[in-house]
Symmetry: D2
Subunit: 344 residues, 4 copies
Amino acid sequence: MIRFENDYTEGAHERILQRLWDTNYEQTPGYGTDEHCEKARAYIRKACDREDIDVHFLVGGTQTNMTVIASILRPYQGAVSATTGHIAVHETGAIEATGHKVLTLPSDDGKIRAEQVRELYDAHWNDATHEHIVQPGLVYISHPTENGTTYTKAELEALSKVCRECGLPLFMDGARLGYGLAAKGNDLSLADIARLCDVFYIGGTKVGALFGEAVVITNDALKKDFRYMIKQRGGLLAKGRLLGIQFETLFENGLYGELSRHAVEMAMMIREAFVQKGFSLRYDSTTNQQFPILPDEVLTELGKTYSFSFWEKIDDNHSAVRFCTSWATKKENVEKLIEDIRAL
Amino acid sequence: MIRFENDYTEGAHERILQRLWDTNYEQTPGYGTDEHCEKARAYIRKACDREDIDVHFLVGGTQTNMTVIASILRPYQGAVSATTGHIAVHETGAIEATGHKVLTLPSDDGKIRAEQVRELYDAHWNDATHEHIVQPGLVYISHPTENGTTYTKAELEALSKVCRECGLPLFMDGARLGYGLAAKGNDLSLADIARLCDVFYIGGTKVGALFGEAVVITNDALKKDFRYMIKQRGGLLAKGRLLGIQFETLFENGLYGELSRHAVEMAMMIREAFVQKGFSLRYDSTTNQQFPILPDEVLTELGKTYSFSFWEKIDDNHSAVRFCTSWATKKENVEKLIEDIRAL
Amino acid sequence: MIRFENDYTEGAHERILQRLWDTNYEQTPGYGTDEHCEKARAYIRKACDREDIDVHFLVGGTQTNMTVIASILRPYQGAVSATTGHIAVHETGAIEATGHKVLTLPSDDGKIRAEQVRELYDAHWNDATHEHIVQPGLVYISHPTENGTTYTKAELEALSKVCRECGLPLFMDGARLGYGLAAKGNDLSLADIARLCDVFYIGGTKVGALFGEAVVITNDALKKDFRYMIKQRGGLLAKGRLLGIQFETLFENGLYGELSRHAVEMAMMIREAFVQKGFSLRYDSTTNQQFPILPDEVLTELGKTYSFSFWEKIDDNHSAVRFCTSWATKKENVEKLIEDIRAL
Amino acid sequence: MIRFENDYTEGAHERILQRLWDTNYEQTPGYGTDEHCEKARAYIRKACDREDIDVHFLVGGTQTNMTVIASILRPYQGAVSATTGHIAVHETGAIEATGHKVLTLPSDDGKIRAEQVRELYDAHWNDATHEHIVQPGLVYISHPTENGTTYTKAELEALSKVCRECGLPLFMDGARLGYGLAAKGNDLSLADIARLCDVFYIGGTKVGALFGEAVVITNDALKKDFRYMIKQRGGLLAKGRLLGIQFETLFENGLYGELSRHAVEMAMMIREAFVQKGFSLRYDSTTNQQFPILPDEVLTELGKTYSFSFWEKIDDNHSAVRFCTSWATKKENVEKLIEDIRAL
């Protein structure tokens, strides 16, 4: 079985494992105060072209989302998100468990638009009984989205502008950020993201690391005491150096970008094969997740050799499914898949 | 600087790193449903001499404590703990953040006694207005304690008996469990612990792993839906296999016990050296943490070569400090320390 | 200005005020343990034709909803509700503040149907990764709904059946329960409701009392320790007798039904007047809230003499508004309104 | 049985009941936006000699404590309180249910001292791993305390000074504030309290009202969006006017002070009788709660005619008990009690 079902099926890039070996007997202080974490922070600041940002390392995405969001909101505020946002649907109510509602905006492609945020904001404050309603307190976006789509620079600038006008911090879930930066046609740099978002994270788990998410806080008002939040939510890794070592490796020589580009290239080959064969795509994804709409017999046929994820039923005989590539995807496996698609 | 300041200063035992290399390109499903996790569970069941237990893998101690405790308590219940318990003092209110009070019992050595639990329980239910008071809902103990002390089998049996009489699940924080099992004079086996506790965990972070805690649930009533709890609290590692691989390695051939015994042996040598030199000990610890009471000039002298932790001021010229060994402690370093103690 | 904007604009029925006078210097124990509360409980048990129910008195609706829901759900569970449910939109995230998501089902009239609950339940448990998703834990309905509509006995029986099949307690928010019982065509008795719901409440605030909601718990599994929950959520009134006295008055001689019938009769007269004048209604309400769709000029005209609530914009020139009657509505005011409608 | 067991055994002062009658058919908007609330606010501002304060009305003490505290603290902060503080012992973990730890300071008389706060604050910030520990976020005091004692102006000024130096808002629970203002030897005015505290409340429930607590926020930084907090925590009374009417009545002509003085006078008579008879007092209370230490045979004897509360066992034959007076205490009952004490 060749697996395209998600982007966390393998371990980590070998350079990371090698670095873990090499540093194994170093004795370092705990909780992210070691030199590897410091170096990784320096590399990330450089990649963001900003010295005045705080960088923290957490273990996983849900943990990061709940920690960041709980650190920003007042008790009666909620996080604005697309209906499809990870925090809205796939985190077992982790945000609600911190006391906050997720305020959803309809979205077909996973993105939300500046106008939607403005409308929600205005609707709230124009309501005569607004104190009976959860107040919007921040805007959460994922980039790339859960559907593989990405924001353009113009879109992100518009969102950022509205958010700042409304006093709503903009938080980008970058669990797959590398794949967004490597997307075909992407015009957003890390520096742009750091400029336009108040806080975001650079996903490691799905982009070459064993685990780890690097939270970047650019808004001074959100920096204070964030380590208390990490500790309270169970995210302050005792051997914090493990996170430092991984991000150090990913960012010292451009490995993060390299791995991301590979995954996107593989995904584009798969996309092309499906399109050429005449299948349509559920979303116009330019990143490492592809969502072809396939008839049942094709699903059965491909399912003999490949694992992929069911996404949604389209009609009686068709479903959208997800093929995921990653930093670890082998080109030979993609080529075999393409051959099999052509042979359908 | 030779570090004795804690038991998480190094990476992991080499067999674990090797196993990570060897399995790196295996493609496995996520979230702890892979074969490595299954194998690790089987080994742990065997070590506990019980087939009917649930085993889950989480990343760190605070995360584990808050997840287990929040899964057990009703909203108006609290966790009974020694005043010195980790959940009471060193987790930034993680338990309170899940909505629950920590009900503390006085303790000088870090342990609580069966009679204390019974008294607290009776006091609660004998109070005419008990619904105005947080109801005791479970008993939390650490073994070894934060002070290096351990429960004897008789003590744990007494605690367990009272807990069952009172309907209070007994939860053992085993972040350093290996060192307790390896303690001089220990008469508790893993099977005893599984029999006497309703839920406990086997710490990996401090005993040879990069990270990881194996939660063992023995009480059927506490098993249901625990994976939802892990996910909600941010503890469901995407590449769950990393936890499986580590515990598989630690438990397939007795490595866990071996590493633990080494650390305790090193600690006992240090203890002996201090005692022979005439220093007293703050706690009668038989495990990997030792707490000598030392005059200021000795602290200054030893501090030139060794790092260790300040524990508490004893009088104007003396402080208790903590020397910590671990699976990674080098015998040569211990011998050098002993020599330096003798030479004081 | 004659107010039809809501059903809590006046104080309380005079018999209640009189009873407060008469009992003012009685010395009673606090927190709902007095004889008035006991009597009120007895009357309510009789009205429900059930001796084996627990009755508790709380102060207001949001407080009651959050207390009941938090007492039932496990941490990873959510409350299923219509999108229009009070807990979903008008309680400032009170449910989320207790850690729980509100899982919404689409509804145009404010009601949810048995099939919707079954579908949600099946969808959850059929999802391979269901532990990543909030688990449905109870079903919340309001009766009458926020739109003035009511459940028929057949509908409530169907809902109750599905809920029991799925192990989901059914919770009825009866903030306006009296008006539902008095609705034209209503075929549900209090005994039916007690039989079909696991917990519900009988609203006093909007039906003749100064304040107060009587929670009835019929499901034995939900009864334990409920007073702890009330206290913890701030709902255990020191002078609990005030609640007892009010419900005693409302239930000893049928006053509750009498007041409810009056309000519904007044509402039906208003409805009839709008319909006869050719206006349509946003919802087919048979209770004390009526939602005519009116052109802007009519709104302006009526707004000179009457206060009512804006509900929603229908098109460029029409809006739905809400006219609310209550136990305190004066017939002469309704007649004047009807006259003015006719004269439009 | 003549009851001295607490200060909420009767209803309300007759002027309040009369006012409820008189205003019963007024039609007012809900949720505290009516004219009675506005008038009550104006009276309270005048009593505090400050125009720039926000005044909100809530129903009860636990509700008020949890709402105020949750509105102030960041998620990782705790409320500093005496070990005997109401929030620490008698609110079923209501504060913890909002996610916050209560950080207790030892106290024998119910008061905490400025130096204790300073020490706790310094200890926190001097700890190298302070992010592992709950950060002090506000200071909670009760005045009078649960033991009937009161702060002098000098003590409150010292506390306030330290709190401001440490950036810790000072919150006074004034559930019995009237009795403190009326205490023998009291040198604190409402204006002093408004000047020295960041937020406090004026208790109505125990001082002549049916229920109700008036929260006064003097610190601008704590004013924003407080109504959202009240609504979310279930404290926004639909018929908010009931609170306005009560505080209007209590404050328009000095009734609050008058009732308070009566209760304290009655308490002082009881105190004097016990002292003259040679009994000692558990606390030096100058307010409406008195705590004589009595031998068992006296308890039995007095218990035949009077109800009072058990406080604590002092030795094998003696217990401290609580006699409570209130605005409603009848002088003839006090005189009878005194006679019976003398006759012992």
